[in-house]
């Protein structure tokens, strides 16, 4: 088991290095001179241009810049935001938690609804319940999350007045944004749960359980579901990264504080230090979540550990 963990960690290292180098290269891949682009509208004097170039360290040779960058990374320093002049790490630190909060809430909704729909559909395959559930799932998957958010706002906030339309924090302000993300992914989970569960329910050991006279409910929940869930766990982990990506857009729609909106603003303002820092943090989070899922998967399915 330990060997498996170490192996996965080692495999993650090149990817992590790639993310580090990639984030570093962002400012250097910009066609043209990034400093000119950043100061485009400000009509700067030559001194201001040189000043900014020096501040960003762009006047040093490439390898020296990378050295400074790495050294800063290890101390948790990503430079300063060009708009606010605050350290990038502060900006990100403040805004990371609300985004994670939103993502986890969305994931919770997705898992609960998805499991429920998938199980219900699988227990009565090809019935009207199944067809309705899968039809709804198909529609939900084809809907952009931000449009679903708009519809939710129109219905629940503006027409019915039950929930607030914008704003941050938890509680009722989190419901609509989390639903916007969660519903789409619940459809994906529902489809997978349904198809896996139907396959599992066809297996011999289920036939055994049934012929023992067990109630259908116990057959499904105690015997079948566990096995059907294994691929679903991997899928949830894979989708975590995608859900965080969706949070980027949803935060903009609901005017919530978060690193998604931070990144969008940074791109609009060409605040390269902030962009680089945010991309790096996103990358690390994704790599970490994939690792965690790998480990969880190996815990749940012993066959993986020994492969």
């Amino acid at each position: 088991m330990g060997k498996y963990i170490v192996k996965r960690l080692v495999l993650a290292i090149p990817t992590l290095l790639g993310v580090i180098v990639g984030a570093f290269l962002i400012i250097h891949l910009v066609p043209g001179d990034p400093v000119d682009i950043m100061l485009f509208n400000a009509n700067p004097t030559p001194e201001q241009v040189t000043e900014l170039r020096h501040q960003l360290g762009l006047d040093k040779p490439l390898h020296a810049q990378f050295g400074t960058y790495l050294w800063g990374l290890m101390r948790g320093r990503f430079g300063e935001s060009l708009q606010t002049h605050r350290p990038v790490s502060d900006e990100i630190g403040e805004k990371l938690v609300p985004t994670l909060q939103l993502t986890f809430c969305g994931m919770g909704i997705a898992i609960i609804f998805g499991l429920a729909m998938g199980v219900i559909a699988a227990m009565r395959p090809n019935s009207w319940v199944d067809n309705l559930a899968m039809g709804a799932a198909n529609v939900a998957v084809a809907m952009p999350a931000f449009w679903l958010g708009i519809l939710l706002i129109l219905l629940f906030a503006l027409k019915l007045g039950w929930l607030p339309a914008t704003g941050q924090g938890g509680g009722e302000r989190l419901i609509l944004p989390a639903l916007s993300i969660g519903i789409g992914y619940s459809a994906i989970i529902a489809r997978l749960v349904r198809s896996n569960l139907i396959q599992v329910l066809d297996r011999d050991y289920i036939l055994t359980a049934r012929s023992k006279g067990l109630m259908e409910r116990i057959v499904v929940f105690r015997h079948a579901l566990k096995n059907a869930l294994i691929p679903v766990i991997t899928m949830i982990g894979l989708q975590f990264g995608n859900m965080m990506g969706a949070a980027v857009v949803i935060e903009t729609l609901f005017a919530r504080i978060g690193i998604g909106r931070l990144l969008v603003e940074a791109i609009l303002q060409r605040d390269y230090p902030l962009i680089q820092g945010t991309i790096f943090v996103f990358g690390v989070i994704y790599i970490a979540s994939n690792l965690i899922i790998d480990l969880l998967y190996s815990l749940v399915d012993p066959r993986i550990r020994y492969s």
Binding site: M143, G184, L263, L268, I287
Partner: protein
């Protein structure tokens, strides 16, 4: 040879056959039994017609301000109402069809154009090349689709062409992985061994034995990829990092409608409805194709939204 593509037995694709049309007819027959897929194909055809003939079909100029009052309700002269500048929403949705379909097809072409050769290279060349390419693809995969696209936009700037490129880049890993996997398993195939023993060169093996085997999975992937492309592209336009006003684009129009939701529901609804209908029909077509071409194929992976 093509009959074998549709027969449901992948290994056969490597053999030449003379019953191409029979295979196609069989597959079309299977497709035709799927009502949802047939309706979706009709819908998609309709959208293509709208995209091509948009300028003739749209009642008004989509960027012309003041063809109606500001934020007029749907009905009468303006079937979908007007937006905050008095522009006809129906016309904007019609013109948006062309933009969306174009953008997603270009993105998929870019993704396949780079991803397929990459996958071929990784699968067919030596272990070292494979490792390098796989690591690179893993790095790209470390970010979800929209984030990759945002990175490209951060580097290259905003604008329609950049968005198309960005979306294309975000889809490359899916193609590279699929092709690489197919190549690796095809390499084990008996036909390839026989061909190699018979003295076939690498290029010939690639075209006659490997490409036919990946044709169907690639086709199915592409239909899903178009759906992803539309979602990513409209998302980027929604947050304002893509096309610039006054270009009529579904995502951008939804973004602009945000501020007026309290007084007008229609600018925020109809463009979104168009997105839903488009993606839904493409998804159903993809499902139909998959069932028609190889009923045994399992769906792999669910998305890079």
């Amino acid at each position: 040879m093509f009959k074998a593509l549709f027969s449901g037995r992948p290994g056969e694709a490597a053999q030449s056959g003379s019953h191409t049309w029979q295979g196609v007819r069989e597959a079309l027959g299977r497709y035709g039994q799927n009502k949802a897929a047939v309706i979706s194909a009709a819908v998609l055809l309709g959208m293509i017609v709208i995209a091509v003939f948009g300028p003739s079909l749209a009642p008004y100029d989509p960027v012309k301000i003041g063809v109606g009052g500001r934020l007029e309700r749907p009905g009468g002269e303006h079937l979908f109402g007007t937006d905050q500048f008095g522009r006809d929403v129906l016309s904007r949705v019609i013109y948006g069809t062309r933009l969306t379909l174009q953008a997603s097809v270009i993105a998929v072409v870019v993704a396949a154009g780079i991803g397929v050769p990459l996958g071929l290279l990784a699968g067919y060349a030596g272990k070292v090349t494979d490792n390098i390419i796989s690591r690179l693809v893993d790095i790209l995969l470390a970010f979800p689709g929209i984030l990759l696209a945002l990175i490209v936009v951060a580097i290259l700037g905003t604008g329609l062409a950049k968005v198309q490129l960005a979306v294309g880049v975000s889809l490359i890993p899916a193609y590279a992985r699929l092709v690489r996997g197919s190549v690796l398993s095809a390499k084990e195939n008996v036909y390839v061994e026989a061909a190699r023993a018979g003295g076939c060169g690498a290029f010939r093996i690639a075209t006659r034995h490997i490409l036919p085997n990946i044709f169907v999975p690639l086709l199915v992937l592409s239909t899903t990829a178009v759906g992803w492309a539309i979602i990513i592209a409209t998302s980027i336009n929604f947050i304002g990092l893509g096309v610039q006003p006054p270009t009529p684009e579904w995502g951008a129009d939804l973004g602009a409608a945000r501020s007026y939701l309290g007084v007008a529901w229609w600018p925020g609804t109809f463009p979104g409805l168009a997105i839903l209908v488009t993606i839904l029909s493409i998804n159903l077509i993809g499902d139909g194709l998959q069932n028609a071409l190889d009923p045994r194929l399992k769906r792999k992976g669910e998305g890079r939204r």
